[in-house]
Amino acid sequence: MKTLETDVIIIGGGATGCGVLRDCTLRGINAVLIEKNDIASGTTGRNHGLLHSGARYAVKDLESATECINENRILKKIAWHCIEPTGGLFVTLPEDDPTYHNRLLESCKFAGIDAKEISIKKALAIEPNLNPNILSAIWVPDGTIDPFRLASANILDSVERGATVFTHTEVERIMLKQNQVAGVQCYDKVTKEYFEVYAPIIVNASGVWGQHLCSTAGIELKMFPSKGSMVIIDYRINNVVVNRCRVPSDGDIIVPGDTVSLIGTTSRKVSYDKIDELIVDDDEIDVLLADGEKLIPNVSRARVLRAYCGVRPLVAVSGEMDGREISRGVVLIDHKERDNVQGLITIAGGKLMTYRLMAEMTTDLVAKKIGNNKGCVTHKIPLPGSEKRVGYTKKIKYFSGIPNSVVGSTHYRHGERVHNILSLQKRNYGLICECEMVTLGEVEYAIKNLKVKDLVDLRRRTRIGMGPCQGELCAYRAAGLFTEFGQFTPDTSTKLLKDFLEERFKGMKPVLWGDGLREFEFTYWIYQGLFGLGLVEEEEQ
């Protein structure tokens, strides 16, 4: 059996885990990260991708609001290529409590969030699709952030600086030697091999899944899973974040993200044993569409692409509470203090927005335990892709000969790393995914450099299959490239294709009507009718 030794084992490849890995690596601490699925495949990748200004929390949770605005400013510097500083609006509808408007303004001022009241006319000029019947509007420095790119950039930087990352690898259990952690037993789901990693420190950054993980070390950590569902609308129907100015509730935000818009979010309590098989309920879709339409009336005419849900990683404090009532504040647990288990740290709670701060707090504790006295620098050193800020027009000029839209999309997604991806060779910039302008070169780069082990991973790195057609043509095109560029047999590529279509279908099912149903019928015709992909397994037998 393969074994490995390191200083710190980080369990969980969400934003927090990736952040801890990078922070450790930048402080010269050897670290190994283990993720059971893919980077950003859990809660990190299943939210609305909002770059919070903090205004949403300002009225009820000042601490969170302040953290948000501070991190908002930092991320705009170190991760600009993962961010669109769109700005956002808080709008009051005729049916909403009009006093919330002033409370929000005051609270924002208190938290240091640059919020200002604007006229309805101006709000409509900024966002022409907005409901014209709004009573008031506030401008806030909200934006959007791509959690996949953010987490991946943290991994990329860490790996380039010497860290080790295992994806699709399950931690079977935490091994203890008396009251001290010794390491973890792992199972690689792709190679189907067991191996062990030894380290004196283990960071549990596995979010809601931490309850099970801690139990393997005999520790009780009670999580409070709360499901949040969202629907994605085809095409970007708004250009700034639109929030409803009221006490947080279902369906009160529409976030533009890349080429689409997203209506969020519901909040429903779910039991822990269901967290891996969550589905979006039909009535959640009803609520989201009905409330979304109140903010932007166009919603009712837009096509719904898919619906998905995530689990909020809230640590239960006490009693029966609604998911929104619990603080979304950061929970950092030194299990030596709490459970007398030396070397185990849990980092949970918080939000995507505060991942870097959470990583800093965690790594401070790690550093203290192993006697490392280098301070945190993650707020200063840009992530790969964000090193230099070069404008779009300059890049177009540099890559003259390649269609502008291709250069623009690649630059948008990968920042400065566009130079590692695009080349003037004709084959390199041939489009694999036309919806999202993903080139063959980008697929090659992702397969070779970004820990891509299947088509779903590739989607998270490149947006392949995320557009209107949900992978109709690009899925097959990209599947073959796994054999060409990676260590994948043709049979594996075919299997990845089948798995990918099944994964896409999960998010399409709850919204399968109208053009979505038409598109699905077409996709089904191609992959089952024309290609006979469903026959593959039978022929093997």
Partner: protein
């Protein structure tokens, strides 16, 4: 404008019905809203490929089983003699346009898909099935599957690996090759303009065909059989096929690709030109938006481009296809037929429309939704009254699953033929 027969929908079904009507002297119009499902079809004609998820080898025997058990199936309404007649009619009409369809003497044969799976079908074009292919097949030792560098929609390695697994190819070596011909890619400005249709145009140039033949010969040394993505021309496919085969001395076989499917396009072109040749009126790029119905008889239809000018006919055939083609429209919790608001077979609860998995064994229920008809293919309105002068054909019909049963084109052709037959006999009575 007045016609004897107006056919709404210009896919394989509408065109087959149109050719049949116009041949019998009916003044016939087809109103087509755009490209049909032929553009993403295999270009082979499936009659009946599967029963209970098992491959069917003898489709006409299996038809007896099917029509004996599913009373509402469109094939049951057609009956075997008519289905056989319709298929022969279709084959002959395609031949007039130099698209030759081959069958395996009343048995199904397999065609190879781009993923290397095998699908049972009844008629195939010459580059997919013919006597040579059949005879040479038994002694085949080496197959080379070829792609052209820069073409994104075909991965020969995947096809080769899958095909090798099949018992039929146990004694055969199957390898994948890529042909790099920069001069072909240079004919297009951007790499994403190198699609099947672009390459098929390149094949239409004789000089290119010679160069391609030489490249294929080099790549396929020692092979008996060469499989290429279906590129061999849109118009002169027979000549190109002959030229390639004689110059390479190899059997050249075509595999249908991601859309646009050139094999399907050839059938589409053949049917359209046949219809036009016989004097049919083909109204392209327009859509019927409204119908005027009096006492269960359709008086006229109106289109998007001519909302004020009625198009009148004695008979109508509705061949508008399934959801994808716009024959039916699904809403949040409702499905309707937009032209005549016909009675449909479907489940009202949306979560029953689909199966739990994409590749679920029994396919998806929504594919069996459609218009309910009497045994003469006449539909009902929402009050359950038969609309007297309308007939339905093809994918808009309910109670069959074209993909699970592998019968899409067979049903399209047979029901078109049946609908046309009835109109023709009534028309003759009226004269």
């Amino acid at each position: 404008m007045k016609f004897d027969c107006i056919i709404i929908g210009g896919g394989i079904s509408g065109l087959t019905a149109g050719i049949r009507c116009v041949k019998e002297g009916l003044h016939t119009a087809i109103i087509s809203s755009g490209m049909s499902a032929l553009h993403f079809s295999s270009g082979s004609i499936d009659v009946l490929g599967y029963i209970n998820n098992k491959v069917v080898y003898k489709p006409f025997e299996a038809l007896d089983t099917l029509t004996g058990t599913i009373a509402q199936h469109p094939y049951t309404k057609c009956g075997k003699p008519l289905i056989i007649e319709a298929l022969q009619f279709f084959k002959q009409e395609c031949e007039t346009q130099n698209v030759y369809l081959f069958d395996n003497e009343n048995l199904n044969h397999f065609h190879v898909t781009a993923l290397g799976t095998l699908k049972p079908t009844y008629f195939s074009q010459r580059s997919v099935f013919n006597e040579d292919v059949y005879n040479r097949f038994k002694s085949m030792k080496k197959i080379v599957i070829v792609n052209f560098e820069g073409y994104r929609d075909f991965h020969p390695q995947l096809a080769a690996a899958q095909l090798s697994k099949h018992a039929l190819f146990a004694n055969c070596e199957i390898i994948a090759k890529s042909i790099d011909m920069p001069q072909l890619q240079d004919l297009t400005r951007h790499p994403h303009e190198f699609r099947s249709i672009d390459i098929a145009r390149i094949f239409e140039d004789e000089e290119n065909v010679y160069r391609i033949a030489d490249a294929i010969r080099l790549a396929a040394e020692g092979a008996d059989f060469v499989v290429i993505p279906a590129f061999m021309g849109i118009h002169n496919f027979n000549q190109i096929h002959n030229m390639l085969q004689s110059r390479t001395r190899l059997l050249i076989y075509e595999v249908p690709t991601l859309p646009p499917s050139i094999l399907g396009l050839r059938i589409d072109n053949a049917l359209k030109s046949r219809f036009a040749q016989l004097g049919g009126v083909y109204i392209a790029g327009d859509k019927v938006v409204r119908a005027e119905i009096n006492n269960d008889v359709v008086q006229a239809v109106y289109t998007a481009n001519h909302p004020e000018n009625p198009l009148e006919a004695k008979f109508y055939i509705l061949s508008t296809g399934s959801f994808f083609s716009g024959g039916m429209i699904s809403e949040f919790n409702n499905i309707y037929e937009p032209v005549f608001k016909l009675k449909l077979h479907y489940e009202p609860e949306r979560n029953k429309w689909y199966s739990p998995q994409f590749f679920y064994k029994n396919s998806h229920p929504f594919l069996e939704y459609g218009v309910v008809t009497d045994e003469n293919l006449r539909p009902y309105d929402s009050n359950n009254n038969i609309i007297q002068n309308v007939y339905c054909s093809g994918a808009i019909l309910a109670h069959y699953n074209p993909i699970r049963e592998g019968c899409g084109s067979g049903v399209a052709i047979s029901t078109a033929y049946k609908a046309a037959n009835q109109i023709i006999s009534l028309y003759k009575l009226m004269r």
